[in-house]
């Protein structure tokens, strides 16, 4: 294993151990934070009792819908914009400034329109994720070098074949970057919305536990979210690095 990986593992373990000790000894009071070990046992109990199953499913469903539609719509929109340079130039300022806009400000608006159900948070998740997909689709298609287009013509490849057998495999690595970002953003959008105001979902459960002083439950759920999200995101991150390395880029 590389030196950096070792050190990182030690740092993380040491940090958690320190947290554990501080909590148990009382440097961090019990009402502020519970020890990490208690977080884990509390989470196990919650999962076993089935108390959070429906909320977890609700969150994951919203994320899946937001993610799926963001990837599909983002890809199609990106491909269309790439094929229509005029339209792309007009939309370009929107793409450039999109992520500077606090998308969450639209959440109250959507609740007012759609009601307090699963729709607003799914839309927010979608809004957060879709533009990342558009931008990375455009980026991937841009990067197909002219020499590859020419090669396709030398081989008499038709339009569909060119796109499917040459453009897509080449751009796939960059499209993957879009997917990776879309996943992260869908989670942020959905869970963030649930936390602010919602009728269900893990984020809602966390804020509920906060308001009702249920520290054990609250921290257990935070741990749950972090575990799920970090695992998924890190898997995608390392997968992306492998794809990029094969491409000969960093």
């Amino acid at each position: 294993m590389r030196k950096a990986t070792w050190i990182r593992a030690i740092v993380l373990v040491a940090a958690i151990a320190a947290l554990e000790i501080f909590c148990r000894v009382g440097i961090i009071p019990r009402i502020t934070m519970i020890p990490p070990s208690t977080m884990v046992t509390s989470l196990f109990d919650l999962v076993r009792s089935g108390a959070i199953t429906s909320d977890t499913l609700q969150t994951l469903t919203s994320v899946a819908i937001a993610l799926g539609s963001a990837i599909a719509a983002g890809f199609v929109a990106g491909a269309l914009l790439h094929a229509l340079p005029r339209a792309r130039r007009i939309v370009d300022p929107l793409l450039a400034t999109y992520y500077s806009i606090p998308v969450f400000v639209f959440y109250p608006l959507f609740i007012a329109i759609f009601g307090l159900n699963a729709i607003p948070k799914t839309v927010i998740g979608f809004m957060y994720a879709v533009v990342a997909m558009v931008i990375n689709t455009l980026n991937g298609l841009d990067r197909v070098p002219p020499v590859l287009w020419k090669t396709a013509r030398v081989h008499h490849m038709g339009r569909v074949s060119t796109l499917a057998d040459m453009v897509f495999p080449y751009a796939a690595a960059y499209l993957f970057t879009g997917v990776k970002l879309a996943v992260a953003y869908s989670f942020i959008g959905v869970i963030g919305s649930e936390f602010i105001l919602s009728s269900g979902g893990i984020g809602y459960r966390i804020s509920f536990a906060y308001y009702n002083f249920q520290n054990d439950v609250m921290y257990a759920l935070i741990l749950l979210v972090l575990t799920i999200v970090v695992t998924i995101n890190m898997t995608l991150y390392y997968w992306e690095r492998i794809l990029m390395a094969r491409r000969g880029e960093r």
Binding site: I31, I101, V105, I113, A184, I196, V229
Partner: protein, 255 residues
């Protein structure tokens, strides 16, 4: 003279395109309003009129001030700490390697889930909001500063050795200028992200500020107010980002 005309035409062309984009968005807005009715979404014109009245009203500005102060403090902390930490991680290879995946992981989690922890430590109030906003902003600033420092051409450092510059001169006259464009990108992203963090914290448990105002107007279903505040915040974010972008582009052109 020709160059002036070309320049103007280019500028006008660009401005015209942006105007066209805004026009399209407003038209879409109008269409949605027609389809969904005033209860769902007020018409653009009505919203503009309401926004103007809102901006002129007296009890709007205290909220703006509250949000403004929290945002400013959070951004200050995030920028100062972010640049220093990022530069250190960039200069010290091993630390950078160790820290990078942790930072990337931190960037991609829903940081709202960490808000209760911050509230536990700081309690509801300005300090928690500033901490939360700073937490948001510091991550991209560290990452981008680290990258900026890492990508300084090694030949610059050797040149500084040949010219017998002191470490301080090396830092001030070369390193800062070479890394500046990318550091500025980090600050620009940090700006937007800190804004999000500040607003979210106000939307959750605050008693004043624009985020709070937004949630309160939701509670009484005041569509006009919801749309007006949303519009103002979107405009603020877009305009400030555009300004920062144009500064950034000028910095990059030099490097």
């Amino acid at each position: 003279m020709n160059q002036v005309f070309e320049g103007l035409r280019g500028l006008l062309g660009r401005a015209a395109e942006i105007l066209l984009l805004i026009l399209i968005l407003v038209t879409l807005w109008q269409v949605v309003h027609e389809l969904a009715g005033a209860i769902a979404m007020t018409a653009p014109l009505d919203t503009f009129r309401y926004t103007a009245r809102l901006v002129l009203s007296a009890d709007f500005w205290p909220h703006v001030q509250v949000t403004g102060i929290a945002f400013f403090l959070a951004l200050l902390i995030a920028s100062a700490a972010g640049v220093v930490i990022g530069a250190t991680l960039g200069l010290h290879r091993l630390s950078g390697e160790v820290g990078e995946p942790i930072l990337v992981a931190l960037y991609s989690i829903p940081k709202v889930t960490l808000y209760p922890i911050i509230l536990m430590f700081f309690g509801l109030g300005l300090r928690a909001e500033v901490a939360f906003g700073a937490l948001h902003g510091i991550v991209p600033i560290i990452i981008l500063t680290m990258n900026a420092v890492r990508s300084i051409k090694p030949v610059y450092i050797r040149t500084a050795s040949v010219l017998r510059l002191s470490s301080w001169q090396l830092l001030r006259s070369i390193l800062v200028r070479a890394a500046l464009p990318e550091i500025f990108t980090g600050l620009r992203v940090g700006f937007s992200v800190t804004l999000v963090g500040t607003l979210i914290s106000e939307m959750f448990g605050s008693k004043r500020g624009l985020g709070f105002l937004l949630m309160r107007s939701l509670g009484v279903h005041d569509m006009d107010l919801i749309m007006a505040i949303t519009l103002l915040l979107v405009m603020f974010a877009a305009i400030s980002n555009s300004i920062l972008m144009s500064i950034e582009n000028r910095l990059y052109r030099r490097v």
